[in-house]
């Protein structure tokens, strides 16, 4: 899996349990445990991150995103896949339940 490959919609993304993170005014910051890099998510990316709890699949997260931010489902799905792929490439998501493309 890389940022250039879309994840399957039935994947249930899970935050890397070693990642430290906090939400401040609707925006999430994440400290990468491996390289001490601080990441900042915008509002929609934060929305997705908070739902990457291993319980929802990508399609479900995209549906919630679509409803919350009033974007069409196809756009929401593409954006969700792109973000999660990027987070995975940066090892901010756990390997569990995730298939490398």
């Amino acid at each position: 899996m890389s940022a250039h490959h879309a994840a399957a919609v039935d994947v249930r993304p899970l935050q890397n349990p070693l990642a430290a993170w906090r939400e401040l005014e609707g925006q999430v910051v994440i400290m990468s445990p491996e390289d001490s890099v601080l990441h900042e998510l915008n509002e929609t990316a934060s929305f997705i991150w908070k739902r990457a709890n291993g319980e929802r699949c990508i399609e479900e997260i995209a549906s919630e995103l679509s409803a919350e931010f009033e974007v069409d489902q196809a756009t929401a799905l593409l954006d969700t896949q792109a973000l999660l792929s990027e987070l995975f490439a940066k090892r901010l998501l756990a390997d569990a339940g995730w298939t490398r493309g």
Binding site: R22, M31, P33, S36, H39, N42
Partner: protein, 401 residues
Amino acid sequence: MPGGPVASSVMARLVSKSLQRSVPLNVHLDVTYRCNERCVHCYLDHRDHGEMTTAEIKRVLEELAQAGAFFLTVSGGEIFLRPDLSELLAHARALRFDISLKTNALLVDEARARELKAVGVRRVQVSLYSADPQIHDAVTKIPGSLERTLRGIHLLQQQGLLVKLSCPLMRQNVHAYKGVQALADALGVTYTLDPTITPMLDGDRSVVDSRVDSSELLAVFEDPVFNKRLDPRAAPEQAKPLAAEAPHHAGAGLARAFDNIPCSAGQNNVYISPYGDVYPCVQMPLATGNLRKQSFREIWYGSPQMRRVRDSRESMVQICGGCEIKQYCQRCPGLAQMEDGDMMGPSWRACELAELSARVAGIENPVSAYRQLWDEGKIAGKRAPAVGGLVTIAPLAAAQG
């Protein structure tokens, strides 16, 4: 999708936001004052006056997380003297804190190092006073302590933990800094050298005798190695909707975020003692409340003392306003309080260090505004008092029995 362009620094934006909203982003939590070393410069009373229990600290961590605290430094005393340390760290990690530890690493063994890595501790700062065992052990007063500390560092690094050396500079080790630098290079770790030695929390100034004299410190300041920062990581990455950077790249942006704010104490930084006393900073002995009697929110947002610190601005420090070498000054309001009696006044030690820095920068005979007024006899009685102006000289919980 929403999400405008990202500014230059993730950390600067985070800090700026925390300052605007008074979010306690940085927490320094001492879990014990007990220690297995007896360092000559230490400002702590190592007796146990009633440390918070495991349950109490867990509750405090929960309150801190709710208030938005993120960067948690767990320190002491020696943290590994708390038998519940693993449990506390696991709880903090479950609350998604970014954890740094401060330790002398004497008690680090393979199992403990592995445990720290597994729980998700990100960084371990280890106190080290010299690469020469005679000098280091004379500071700690524990024979063989350097050897044990180095073994601990090795075990931490074996687990892939980020280690940083912390070396306070004092009379006893002032010439050892090059050895510390060489050791850090050999280990592939970062290090800090810091000439700040503070009085003990009970006001006892005997430890201040360990401070390096200005003349001797000048030679250190003139050595470029003193300000070297080792951490050659990649430049900040900029991307949307995710921006990222290594925190140390935030320097200039951070300075702008603070603008007229004297320092982070009580703004986005808080210190909590093993007894639950809350202070704006570990170097500012202004007790603002106790977590056994009040919630963190009550103290952080409601304490008059905390609000007084939070409302202070650098422009209120009248003598310093017109100082010609202000740009070289790193006045610490806490130290100004402890040693000069007023957190919003000048700090004699800061003046000395600013004059040294200015001299190193090529300014001839730099004189701080404070010294100038003193020389003119306009501030008689204010210079480096023997007994500092402590607002509270004992931990609240201990004082209240």
